[in-house]
Symmetry: C2
Subunit: 713 residues, 2 copies
């Protein structure tokens, strides 16, 4: 069997390609792959298989695979769907490493198509041939002319290569986005339409492409991920490499509506999970194709800004104000100029220009070209400024000249310069882009893109500094107490609170002192031992909602109260559900007061265990102030889960409250993360609700919990 790398080498860097089912008529869709491979100058050996032709435009045609003079690396298949399975089988048998199926008519059609696709999946699995598609608009490697595609984005021009790549789950929309990118002089070295992903999927392509040292940024259009865990891992790899993944994620459907028992499950949608994991792993989420392309365009040109200070040079005061507003809204700054910069510019600006940031040069620079030079060079030397934004608009006569001037200046400076140019002329903008200058056609989108680049760099830096991840990954499974293991590995469905707390305790999570009592006598003895006040809670696998059932009593302060309460809760339990199996009653020390937080776990079918964190009460219920991240968490992840909620102000003592023990929350998040990761094969949901957060230094107490385990069918 070949490795993924070998297989995808065969896809992106094939020494030879055979197109199976190529039409001799290049105006037909089935003629396109061969046409484009020729147009884009693919240099490897190129063959066609079509029994009806001898050759197509100089490419020799063979009747079948076995007649070929060599075993090609890649087969591009554009036969009708029913013919595909046989050909794939043959190709695998003949020793091909990879096949790209352009043909549609598979799972997306349902019925027979779905069956054909299953068959292909089986062939890929058993023979080890890599299968891309089916129903793919094709794959392009712009660096070697490997344009095995029907996408008309390369109909008229040579496809521009660069340091970006684009993987799309929509063929048509992907094509349009790619066309826009080409117009903006964004170079996609690789373009992949993933199709139905029968075998090679989104994350596989990204994984392969990220390792190309030339690539800085990978863009993706995602409707759904086959393998969320892998995607998350690859996102980590991108950060490790200092690269970026930018994705449009569409399809905001709700999570499969299983009867949600836990609070966590009931308030969580698919989109929240994606959002949380994207943030955790540094995947940049783009709102739409404009946003995507703007972000790629700041990433593709280096240098990148070393800080958040923006110097603005503008030919419109109004645009300067808008740019400044937008910087502050997006976490960037527009610092005052340094005294040396002011000294340097003094006397060089026209009388109406104030020596301030933004510098308003008005249209004056058109008759005084040195003005632009003075300002750009001065800002390049100003140590408070890390990137320069130059605003231009509607230059009727001298557009081309201005383009040239800017291009020259960009080469003389060491900081990134971004041009915002609205209302043309188009050719001047195109010239600028061709010479490698980053140009935006709207001020706010420029600022947003710079801010995204800057915060991604910060993310990469922080990730590097985030030590100890290995430690956190080490399993605790072996250390944890026997009871936890037997509960989590052998039981199914819901655990009682008592069983759940034992598990929490075995992971070092603080729970109130207490015991399970099987009789009033036992209850009284436990209460006396741990000391009043205590609470009572009936334990039954058949009663999940204890408060609702009336089987909880709090603040019991002596033997008499306990005796009465014990009677009450037992009676209520029997009344609530006569058939309920009652395991006993927890007698538990009342916990010290504290802020209520909730930590939840959802074992997502795509991503695996996802943690939810939030402050109880208004924050979760009314404003949905929660954060999500994938287990296992790093220390910094846990910190961010807390700091990204608005309620963090409360924990820090806003409104005269005490300062909560945030370190202890981090600790418990890490422990729950371990637990969830260790037992990811058994767990479905955990709700630890509430956890009381005490004063700084005094820890937290998990007061109630609900474990839902997978039911093996």
């Amino acid at each position: 069997m070949f490795s993924l790398k070998e297989k995808l080498d065969a896809v992106f860097y094939p020494r030879s390609v055979v197109v199976i089912g190529a039409s001799g008529d290049f105006s037909k869709v089935s003629g396109r792959p061969l046409k484009f491979l020729l147009n884009q100058g693919y240099k490897g050996n190129l063959y066609a298989i079509n029994p009806r032709y001898k050759d197509i435009n100089g490419i020799k045609c063979y009747p079948d695979l076995t007649s070929l003079p060599e075993v090609p690396d890649l087969a591009v298949i554009i036969l009708p769907a029913p013919a595909v399975t046989r050909v794939i089988e043959e190709a695998a048998g003949f020793g091909l490493k990879a096949a790209l199926i352009i043909t549609s008519g598979f799972a997306e059609m349902g019925g027979e198509g779905r069956k054909l696709q299953e068959k292909i999946k089986e062939i890929a699995r058993t023979t080890g041939i890599a299968v891309c598609g089916p129903n793919s608009a094709g794959i392009i490697n712009a660096s070697n002319g490997m344009a095995a595609t029907i996408s008309q984005v390369i109909e008229k021009k040579v496809f521009k290569s660069g340091n970006a790549a684009f993987i799309t789950q929509s063929g048509a929309f992907g094509t349009f986005i790619t066309a826009l990118a080409q117009d903006m002089n964004i170079g996609f070295k690789y373009y992949v339409s993933t199709g139905n992903e029968v075998d090679v999927e989104m994350s596989d392509y990204i994984e392969y492409i990220l390792e190309d040292p030339e690539i800085r940024v990978v863009a993706a259009y995602i409707e759904g991920l086959r393998n969320g865990k892998k995607f998350a891992r690859i996102a980590e790899r991108a950060a490790e490499l200092g690269k970026a993944i930018v994705a449009i994620k569409v399809g905001r459907t709700e999570r499969g509506a299983k009867a949600a028992q836990s609070h966590t499950a009931s308030i969580t949608g698919v989109d929240e999970i994606y959002d949380g994991i994207f943030k955790q792993k540094g995947v940049i989420r783009a709102e739409d194709e404009r946003d995507l392309l703007d972000i790629i365009s700041v990433f593709q040109n280096e240098p990148w800004p070393a800080g958040n200070g923006v110097g603005i040079i503008t030919m419109s005061g109004g645009a300067g104000v808008l740019l400044t507003d937008s910087c502050y809204r997006n976490g960037l700054e527009v610092p005052e100029l340094q005294p040396e910069t002011i000294a340097e510019l003094k006397g060089k600006l026209p009388p109406f220009s104030a020596l301030e940031n933004p510098v308003d040069i008005t249209g004056q620079f058109l008759s005084d070209p040195d003005l632009l030079k003075y300002c750009i060079l001065a800002m390049d030397r100003d140590k408070g400024i890390h990137s320069i934004v130059l605003f231009m608009g509607l230059i009727l006569e001298k557009g081309k000249q201005v383009s040239q001037d800017i291009t020259k200046l960009v080469k003389q400076i060491s900081k990134p310069l971004y041009v915002v140019w609205i209302a043309g002329p188009e050719d001047a903008i195109a010239d600028l882009r061709k010479s490698g200058v980053t140009v935006f056609t709207s001020p706010v989108s420029c600022v947003k893109a710079i801010a995204t680049l800057f915060s991604h760099q910060q993310f990469v830096q922080e990730t590097k500094e985030d030590k100890g991840k290995e430690l956190l990954l080490a399993s605790k499974k072996e250390e944890c107490c026997r009871e936890a293991k037997s509960n989590l590995l052998q039981k199914q469905g819901f655990l009682t609170e008592y069983a759940g707390k034992k598990i929490l305790a075995s992971y070092g999570i603080s729970v109130p002192k207490g015991e399970l009592a099987k009789s009033l006598t036992e209850a009284l003895s436990v209460a006396r031992e741990i000391g009043y006040p205590v609470c009572l809670k009936v334990q039954s696998p058949d009663i999940m909602h204890k408060t609702e059932a009336g089987v909880v009593r709090l603040n019991i302060s002596d033997d008499d109260q306990l005796t009465k309460a014990y009677d009450d809760v037992i009676r209520n339990a029997v009344k609530y559900k006569p058939s309920a199996v009652i395991e006993g009653v927890i007698v538990e020390k009342m916990a010290e007061k504290g802020y209520e937080i909730i930590i939840g776990v959802l074992n997502d079918q795509d991503f695996g265990p996802v943690l939810m964190y939030g402050m109880g009460g208004i924050f979760i219920e009314v404003i949905k102030d929660v954060s999500y991240m994938l287990a296992p968490l790093t220390y910094r992840d846990a910190e961010k889960m807390i700091s990204s909620t608005k309620a963090v102000k409360i924990l820090k003592g806003a409104r005269g409250g005490f300062v909560g023990d945030v370190d202890a929350i981090i600790d418990v998040l890490l422990k729950v993360s371990k637990l969830a990761y260790d037992f990811k094969d058994s767990l479905e949901e955990i709700d630890i609700n509430p956890i009381l957060v005490h004063e700084k230094g005094k820890g937290v107490t998990a007061v109630d919990c609900l474990f839902k385990l997978k039911v093996n069918s």
Copy 2:
């Protein structure tokens, strides 16, 4: 003196125009107004004043105003700044109705320029001549060629007219935006660069233009408003007319940092006030120029959608998903097709197209043009659909043909159709726009614009239904008790809580029962009369922060406690501020428990009294969950102030709490609004904090209040 209408008639519809200071060299900036008036075909009498020429391009030149054969309506002045004042004076004397000063070098330069501008202001005031500018890039009326401008947006083409207008406080940025609009085939009937607004200001232009029956939408670029109250009134007029004002508002500076005593003042920034008032009055706030133009383009073409159901026809499944996502995010729906529609389409769509919304027609429609027709006509008949979005992308060959097909179909249907067309070809898009079809170049921006249009229509409708505004405007001043009047009209600085509550009570706002006691004996007698439990609060104009000073005691339940508490608070008051004048001690019935809300008033220098509303505690302090509106409020305004906060869920009984008396909050908001409006000349700030909201039907109680009155200097 002329009315504003007469003056602005002279500006926008002058029967004759004289350009003063026109250069004979049309390549110079000072040559442009005359050049553009000629180019754009201005039909009125046109004169120039320049002693150096006999005529300029066929326009007769005069040495001065008095030599002219008639009194022109409008003078366009492009003389150096120092020469302008004399000319304006002459023009006013000569009987001209209006002057437009293009020249810069006035207040924007400071110093001497500021003085010159003051002089012009004085001339305008005393003579009644309307002055536009100075430092204006000019004014255009595209319907009659009145292009008195230096803006090069009309250098090369005839300026397209239409049913939109654009008023800008930035000359250059305004020009660029106008150029973009022209490219998008958006017609600005009026274009105004307001310049320094020495006389005629932003709101004046909007007021005049709104009354033009042809105008549907007025766009504005705003850095600051000279007259916020007028702007608010004009926004109301726009809604009354069913028209829209769309504005970019930049310059997010903080409010002048007066020592903020009230809570309301301390948490409020300029931008929040603008945001609140824009929402209240239905002014649409655009984020940037793209957003502005997208919104104008949906407003300019009728019909407008009659509901929020969107039918999507797409040549890309991916784009369909993105459009659908975006609809739901923005309050629109993508309903399932009606059974009749499905029946109608059955057999007409290609086999791979599901009979659902979005309809994915793929590229197939290019070879089967009827496909488009079937889908569009079927959706036009579907009663769940109120607007149709058609997504197109990268059509290489048949772009022009597709444009024509769409244009034809648009004429056959009764619902609005919006085209999203990305990646060109440009000429096909331009054709579509020229034939009056609304085209967007990005899917999300299309959806946002439709959503904006739809919610503005709802706003207009609701405003129409919002009766009783007149009632609310009727002054209560005369009815209110003598004490309130004397306090609010004669005092300065802070009022004591006792005085404040009397005023609230006189406006019918419920405050706890209580009296001011001047001695312990009086206090005891008051307490016995109103009944325990009571609270005590020392009243002193010198002690604003009573809790901090320790002069408040709550929950006093009998004579003994009262005696002790009385002693305590008096002693604390003296200790806190030995010089404090103590007017007495409020003895007040303890209020029933309730949700805490805050109602505040800020008398903004630009807008007048602005109300703030929010729920106390976490909502205001931690998440800044507050709303702002201008007094006087209508009933619906008050409702919206409450419903637009997140905390409204609490008032409705979220989390098992009681249902609060929202009607009573509306009532108190209306009463505070009246009070603030009645005494807008005396008030600076009011803080009613907290107001306790009791159970539905049981009203509210204002527990504490702080009035800050203007200090007349």
